[in-house]
């Protein structure tokens, strides 16, 4: 299918509030039919084979039923009515028609219901598989994949697949079947008239495929233009303070008015195509009524003049042709749309399957052991790491940490602090070297058993939708309310939680947006406290909390760190000063190690960083 190049809008020089970045990759909307994909999709119907097979049988019945119904209608008119037969004959005909109509609609009910149920079942299974597979994928996948993309797999892509499963195959089969049967009927009754109709078929096909292409293109342009409208709107609302603060209301309003006009102009193009398509299709049906009347009339009145029986026969056939022709022409209009739906489904299926085929960076080896309860000794032995093959992020990292000690990782952005904690958390495996926990090589243990003895608090302080109570409980599913309260009591933050609108039952917005940064941190601390892990990993938030809350956080933090092996990417002075060991990192190397006092006394990198800090605060 030839692709029309898509101009982004009517007017490419339109000045707008927001401009879409051109390096945003665009996902294809259609893909050619691919047998492997179809087969794999078909496999998804296997658990629902009975429904699928019943449907296939129903489809065959229906493709005969529909022409039969039209035939019955025509038979009643051309037979009893046109021949002025007595009333009982007509009644009999009408009742037969009615009975058959009931049968047809009952079959239709099952055809509709089963197809939709099958589509839904496949989509459900597919969503389940996507979600389950996502749980196994490595951190590197999450780092390189945008959330929106993952959501599209679950939404628009599975929807495209649904259309493919529930419609394309069954609708196409019914359409082709009914078209063929109708053609058979017409061919049987009057092949000359049928040839006439056949001549009109390419015209309908041509018209609808011409417009379908243009309409498809128009819809894409409309969508693009609409996404510009909505993104401008979204930013206008989010940026309203900036707009009013900088007195930009009128400029923005003018730009938006032009954008909306541009959007409406694109819509007019679509209207031109739909207008053209529908009026031409309408013309076509008039054309063939006229052609049937003229040709049929000619055959009856002129060619068969005198042969009374033949005249009557042909006259009756006119009704049959009127009734059948719609069934015959319908596939020409419908199949094109189904073909497009199939291409869209292919594109969706391809993306879903390629997600399902994404392999995790590593999986636990079959002989991986369950990590026994640990004390918390951690050792790095010549560890190297790189996210991309050619760029080393860590070089020959060596250290041994005794159980219960606090390690502060210090260094500039990009020095490798975060990478080290990612490795301890086994989010990645080292490229070279060994990491051991209580002497067990990290690669030889089951990841889940390690994570169960580990607690993680990251900068983003992520909270799930739900209550504070539920969020803390994430640290230890099945913990009682008392245990949760106890964890908070230990951190001495009960009053801070009580100060929230509904205490522990306060609902948290997505990502914890309705709470302040300090409150979010406290909840994440409590979550880790409840888990009571032997090893704690903490990436301190860089954002500063207001000074009054800061004191409470520092206090809670020192309780949390006490008695467990802790790795802290530290930004707080107090945390750094209290650490048992500070590892100073620079470009992937450990350049200094020691306590705060030792390092200051040495007068190296750390001391000069600290000196700068004091200068800044003295200004």
């Amino acid at each position: 299918m030839s692709r029309l190049s898509a101009p982004t809008s009517m007017n490419t020089k339109l000045k707008t509030l927001t401009v879409k970045s051109e390096n945003e990759e665009i996902e294809v909307e259609e893909r050619p039919l691919d047998f492997r994909l179809i087969l794999r999709l078909f496999r998804y119907t296997r658990p629902h084979a009975r429904k699928r097979n019943t449907l296939l049988a129903i489809v065959v019945v229906r493709s005969v039923q529909l022409p039969m119904l039209a035939w019955l209608l025509a038979e009643v008119i051309k037979g009893p009515i046109a021949h002025f037969k007595p009333i009982p004959d007509i009644l009999y005909g009408a009742l037969t028609f009615l009975a058959f109509a009931v049968f047809t609609q009952v079959v239709f009910h099952f055809r509709m219901r089963f197809a939709q149920e099958l589509g839904e079942a496949v989509v459900h299974d597919m969503r389940r598989d996507i979600f389950t597979h996502l749980q196994a994928l490595s951190m590197s996948f999450y780092n390189r994949t945008k959330l929106g993309r993952i959501i599209s797999r679950m939404t628009s892509d599975t929807e495209a697949v649904r259309a493919g499963v529930q419609d394309v195959l069954f609708v196409s089969m019914v359409q082709i079947g009914q078209g063929l049967v109708a053609a058979g009927f017409m061919l049987y009754y009057d092949w000359r008239l049928f040839l006439l109709l056949l001549g009109l078929a390419p015209i309908i096909w041509g018209i609808s495929s011409y417009y379908r292409k243009r309409l498809g293109h128009a819809y894409r342009v409309i969508q693009e233009s609409f996404s510009r409208v909505t993104s401008t709107l979204a930013e206008s609302v989010s940026g309203i303070r900036v707009t009013q603060g900088f007195v930009r209301q009128e400029v923005n309003a003018r730009m938006f008015a032009r954008l909306v006009e541009d959007h409406s102009a694109v819509n007019m193009i679509r209207a031109k195509h739909t207008g053209g398509l529908f009026s031409l299709l309408d013309l076509n049906s008039q054309l063939f009524t006229a052609a049937l009347l003229a040709t049929g009339g000619y055959f009856i009145l002129v060619s068969s003049a005198g042969d009374h029986a033949s005249q009557f026969e042909q006259y009756g056939n006119l009704f049959l042709f009127f009734a059948m022709s719609n069934l015959f022409f319908e596939p020409f209009r419908v199949l094109g749309a189904q073909y497009n739906a199939a291409l869209t489904a292919m594109a969706g299926a391809e993306r879903v399957f390629s997600l399902l085929d994404t392999q995790p960076d590593f999986i636990d080896p079959p002989d991986a052991i369950e990590l026994p309860p640990i004390q918390g000794r951690v050792a790095f032995d010549n560890v190297q790491f790189s996210y991309q093959p050619d760029r080393k992020v860590l070089n020959d990292i060596n250290f041994k940490v005794e159980a219960g000690k606090t390690i502060a990782l210090v260094g500039h952005t990009g020095s490798g602090k975060t990478t080290i904690i990612n490795l301890i958390a086994k989010f990645y495996l080292p490229t070279a070297g060994r990491i051991t926990i209580d002497g067990h090589d990290i690669t030889s243990i089951r990841t889940e058993s390690l994570h169960k003895q580990m607690g993680i608090v990251l900068q983003i302080n992520f909270l799930f939708t739900g209550t504070i109570m539920d969020n803390i409980r994430t640290g230890k599913p099945g913990a009682t309310d008392e245990e949760v309260v106890e964890a908070c009591r230990k951190l001495d933050v009960l009053d801070l939680i009580a100060a929230l609108p509904e205490g522990f039952n306060t609902q948290v917005g997505e990502g914890g947006r309705s709470m302040s940064l300090g409150q979010r941190q406290i909840v994440c601390f409590a979550r880790a406290m409840l888990a009571n892990p032997r090893i704690l990993i903490l990436d301190e938030a860089t954002s500063s909390v207001d000074t009054m809350t800061e004191a409470r956080i520092q206090k809670a933090l020192s309780v949390l760190l006490k008695g467990r092996t802790s790795f802290v990417v530290a930004h707080r002075l107090s945390t750094i000063q209290q650490a048992d060991t500070i590892l100073v990192l620079d470009q992937g190397w450990i350049v200094e190690r020691g306590t705060h006092r030792q390092l200051l006394a040495t007068g190296g990198v750390y001391a000069s960083m600290y000196r700068k800090f004091i200068h800044a605060s003295r200004a």
């Binding site: 401009v19 979600f131 799930f464 009054m548 006092r597 006394a601």
Partner: protein, 658 residues
């Protein structure tokens, strides 16, 4: 048609919350009156649409009638039993014409009508769309324009998803009243009467019999949409929950993996995923019951027509004055019946359209009617260039009347001074700052600039005199240059670069591949926190404001990048009255004096050094950030604080404006 793009997660959440948000709740009568007024505004378009529709209908019915006559002509020609065709309006063909000639004449008529219909149909589609688009453009532009001016109280009270929806979906809902209710309704009523008259003219009792199922058709269409719509809505909400689970699972992947919660997550998802599927079964059942059912109703009509119509054809043969003919009677009637059924179903949809457009109208007119709380007085004083003295006199304020955030706050800041405002979250720091550009008006007391009450000053002038740097600075997805020039779109490149240089942003901008023409991604995701902050400072400086407001500009920045901003801030403050909300000691020390807020009251004021000496909250909190004496000794640094005279207090007017 391509599937609609997935809703953003934010939209999902705000949808849920905005359900509860009541709009202005205009009475239904008022809403209808407003929408009728809108219709009146576009009356010419409406009349055109109705007229065109009626012409089309007439043409279609005429074509049908002609084909019916054609059937009768042939019937009469081949069957001596069949009565002669009835020609309408005395258009009978000359007696000497053969049946074939008559058929050809009729066919020519059909084709002529068809050709006119193509042209008219095409024009009609365009006219209708033009009308729809005109209304949508008109409404969208006015709602957006109003939104830009509405005060922050409106934005505080409404979720952004709901606000966006007013310009997109709700506007379409209101538009639907014009084309979906008024035009469509008129069309339907007119065409149903056309059909009815036509059918009655063919045969009265037949019409009655055949339309006996009509009430069922109408009711079932109504019941169907009443059943299915809420079910779809429920399903949409269920599915939104499923997507929320997914997005949180992805965003919180560290927590999920770090605490080994995958199994629980899979279970949680499986519950909603199955709920979506189970709930759908009801919808499927409804659809697959009602669609065949309405189909059957039409076919019952046809069966009735076959029987009773067949009887009438028979009667007609015995007495041409009685009954109906086969073509122009029965055949045409069958055609009419099918279209009639379609129209009845459409009629049921109109009742839904009314409901939808009423809901939408409430939300759209809610925006258009919302009072702009904060506006310039008609006789407002122009303020081309302020000196920068800012005074608060006994200012009290609350976002909600019953919930005071500020209590009798007073202070007087001289031009060029730098004031730091500190306090715990919720103490009222940002609130004080938002009173200065008049984002809100105080409930009691006065805010003054250069001695003038803000309410007497031209609002646009006032705001142009104030440079704003927020805690989280919104940057638009546009080029860097356009973002800096946001407040002054016609600024030259030289002016933009100058502002960027003062804000210490020029170097990193030039390091980007396209320099000032580099595009920012959504939420400026391609910049670091420090870079975003410096762009925001440049944006504020381009206006060369007399007053500069820096609301916690360093909050989201790690200490390593903080010094980049501090330089920028120092440059920016020079020669302006500056208000700074900050927590970091490094920033606090730069100020001429400090205001300490607690629960909306000023509890301490003084210079940093004074406050440190007095102790109290401020001193205690500040000490947390101080390097301890031990560390300073180890570094061999001078333990004494630098004298206060090196702070910028001594040179308030030094250095001109940028």
């Amino acid at each position: 048609m391509p599937a609609p793009p997935p809703k953003s997660v934010e939209a999902l959440r705000s949808d849920a919350r905005s359900q509860a948000l009541a709009g202005t709740q205009l009475p239904t009568g008022e809403l209808v009156r407003r929408m009728l007024a809108l219709t009146w505004k576009f009356r010419m378009g409406c009349v055109r649409a109705v007229v065109a529709q009626m012409l089309l209908l007439t043409l279609a019915l005429s074509g049908l009638k002609l084909s019916g006559i054609g059937i009768d002509v042939i019937h009469h020609a081949i069957s001596p039993d069949a009565p002669p065709p009835r020609w309408p309006f005395g258009f009978a063909p000359p007696g000497q014409w053969t049946a074939m000639q008559q058929v050809l004449a009729l066919v020519t008529g059909i084709l002529l009508f068809a050709l006119v219909r193509v042209g008219l149909g095409y024009i009609n589609t365009l006219l209708q769309e033009r009308l729809v688009q005109d209304i949508v453009v008109h409404l969208r532009a006015s709602v957006y324009d109003k939104l830009q001016r509405l005060s922050f109280r409106f934005y505080d009270a409404n979720e952004s998803g709901s606000i966006i929806n007013r310009v997109t979906g709700d506007v379409q809902g209101v538009r639907m009243f014009v084309d979906g209710v008024i035009i469509q309704g008129t069309n339907l009523l007119l065409s149903l009467s056309f059909f009815l008259v036509f059918m009655l003219s063919i045969h009265k009792t037949l019409t009655l019999f055949c339309l006996a199922t009509t009430p069922f058709l109408f009711t079932s269409a109504l019941i169907f949409s009443r059943l299915v719509k809420p079910a779809y809505w429920t399903n949409r909400k269920l599915f939104d929950t499923a997507i929320l689970r997914l997005s949180e699972n992805v965003q919180g992947v560290h927590v999920v993996k770090g605490f080994a919660r995958q199994k629980q997550e899979i279970e949680k998802f499986s519950v909603v995923n199955s709920a979506v599927k189970d709930q759908k079964q009801f919808i499927f059942w409804c659809i697959s019951f009602f669609t065949p059912f309405t189909g059957l109703l039409t076919q019952i009509n046809l069966a009735v027509l076959l029987f009773y119509g067949g009887y009438l054809v028979l009667a007609h043969q015995q007495d041409p004055k009685e009954g109906i003919s086969l073509g122009e009677g029965l055949w045409v009637f069958a055609g009419l019946l099918q279209q009639f059924s379609g129209q009845i179903a459409a009629l049921a949809n109109i009742t839904n359209s009314v409901q939808q457009s009423l809901t939408a109208a409430d939300r759209v007119f809610g925006v258009l009617d919302a009072p702009v709380e904060i506006e310039s007085k008609p006789d407002a004083m122009p303020l081309p260039r302020a000196q920068g003295r800012v005074t608060l006199e006994n200012v009290s304020f609350g976002y909600k009347p019953e919930d005071r955030v500020l209590h009798e706050v007073s202070f007087d800041v001289q031009p060029g001074q730098c004031v730091a405002i500190v306090g715990a979250t919720g103490a009222g720091k940002s609130t004080i700052l938002s009173l200065m550009p008049r984002f809100y008006d105080p409930d009691a007391g006065r805010v003054l600039i250069d001695g003038h009450d803000l309410r007497d000053v031209n609002l646009d002038d006032l705001r142009r005199n104030i440079g704003l740097v927020f805690q989280e600075n919104f940057l638009f997805s546009n080029t860097i240059a356009n973002n800096i020039a946001f407040g002054h779109p016609s600024a030259t490149r030289a002016q933009i670069e100058k502002a960027a240089k003062i804000a210490a942003a020029h170097d990193f901008i030039m390091a980007m591949p396209k320099g000032y023409d580099s595009l920012l991604e959504e939420k400026a995701g391609n910049l670091s926190g420090g870079q975003r902050q410096r762009l925001a400072i440049a944006r504020a400086l381009l206006l060369d404001p007399a007053v500069l407001i820096l609301d916690d500009a360093t909050a989201a920045i790690d200490p390593q990048t903080e010094h980049e901003i501090l330089t920028a801030m120092d440059n920016a403050m020079r020669g302006r009255t500056t208000f700074v909300v900050a927590h970091r000691l490094s920033t606090l020390r730069r100020s001429d004096w400090v205001i300490v807020l607690e629960n909306g009251r000023v509890v301490q004021t003084g210079t940093h050094d004074e406050l440190m000496r007095i102790g109290g909250h401020y001193g205690k909190a500040a000490k947390l950030q101080l390097a301890d004496a031990e560390s300073i000794r180890l570094l061999g640094m001078d333990p004494a604080d630098p004298p206060a005279s090196t702070t910028p207090l001594a040179q308030p007017f030094e250095g001109g404006a940028a």
